[in-house]
Subunit: 184 residues, 2 copies
DNA sequence: CAAATCATGTAACCCGTTACATGATTCT
DNA sequence: AGAATCATGTAACGGGTTACATGATTTG
């Protein structure tokens, strides 16, 4: 019975119209032109998604005078839903299968989470990454000799990528810590 | 009219049963236990996919004596389809939106592509990455000051990730070049 | 013998893709 | 005036998720 929860595309839309109210077309353009990646900008994706969000009461639309243009903005419930999603604890499975979504979340945190919540996001992200990388390296030590060459090399690329993310985490944490100090 | 082309999951399955014939359950276990990522191992995914591949004539199954177990292997057409997919030229959109699929392809190249085809894969991958990273860095220079802090940081992580992939490409190319020399 | 694992399937649901369609507004 | 872009939608289709369901075989 628990209400169907929004997809990550839905959250991307919520995040965008939280930054500023937009039309469906405006959202499409963002997905088309910015690196805010992966998400399809086709009308068959965006307009039905907006309809869903309307039905869930997470967005509202103000039709502008003349008629055609529909500008969407978040409802209170919508902002809460977005905030909830942003504040969710990270799990290892997120790291394994939903890395992109984690960065989508990070990208929308600006003014919706407290500094301490952001720090917690980054520290648990870092800890889970460290742990996961260790698992991968252990697997690599034990199994890599049985893997075909290309499989092994692809696997090594995976490890390198996670390490890059870990570096980024640590760098960003340092930046935030410094910023926190300067504010005192 | 052009026949529906297989999904990347389909190709993952083809690649696996090319390595060695497997049962549906065997395939599920691979997706469940190895880092061979993302792909769902649920029966509702795998068995229908195998049915599709059967209908396309890309795989065949030998039911083992007793009955229940069905071992799938590639047909000639299946091997050709797999090879074709592996040998496809890389496009920039692949890099933007289908990085995972590129590595899936790489991971299955072992004995299906020639050394020169592998080298071409890596060199065009490298060239496209270099070009794309340049685009991203240009965008970063021009636009980053207008981006919210978190958006900018997430974007920078994206760039760092592509650079890691580029490094990997270059390292792997060197390795292959060295190997080629040793074989003369 | 009970529990875990091996092994295969079906059915409802829904999101995203693709293609089609229309009209207003702006630019050249 | 014609072209490009702005702007919004619908409809068919299909693949993946989730949940349900069953039975054989192996392990403790």
């Amino acid at each position: 019975m628990t209400k169907k929860q929004p997809t990550s595309l839905d959250y991307a839309i919520l995040g965008l119209i939280h930054q500023e109210p937009r039309t469906g077309y405006g959202i499409r353009k963002v997905f088309e032109t910015t690196a805010l990646g992966n998400y399809s900008s086709s009308p068959g994706t965006i307009y039905p998604a907006l309809k869903r969000l309307l039905k869930l009461g997470l967005v509202e639309s103000k039709p502008t005078k003349a008629g055609k243009k529909n500008v969407f903005h978040l409802t209170v419930a919508g902002e809460k839903a977005l905030q909830n999603w942003l504040a969710q604890p990270i799990l290892q499975t997120d790291i394994e299968k939903k890395n992109d979504e984690l960065f989508l979340r990070f990208a929308f945190m600006d003014d919706l989470l407290s500094q301490s919540q952001k720090m917690e996001f980054l520290t648990t992200f870092r800890d889970l990454l460290q742990n996961y990388i260790q698992q991968l390296e252990h697997y690599h030590q034990v199994e890599s000799s049985h893997l075909p060459l290309h499989g092994r090399l692809a696997f090594e690329h995976g490890i390198a990528t996670y390490k890059t993310t870990l570096d980024w985490c640590e760098k960003t944490l340092q930046l935030f810590t410094k910023m926190g100090k300067n504010e005192n």
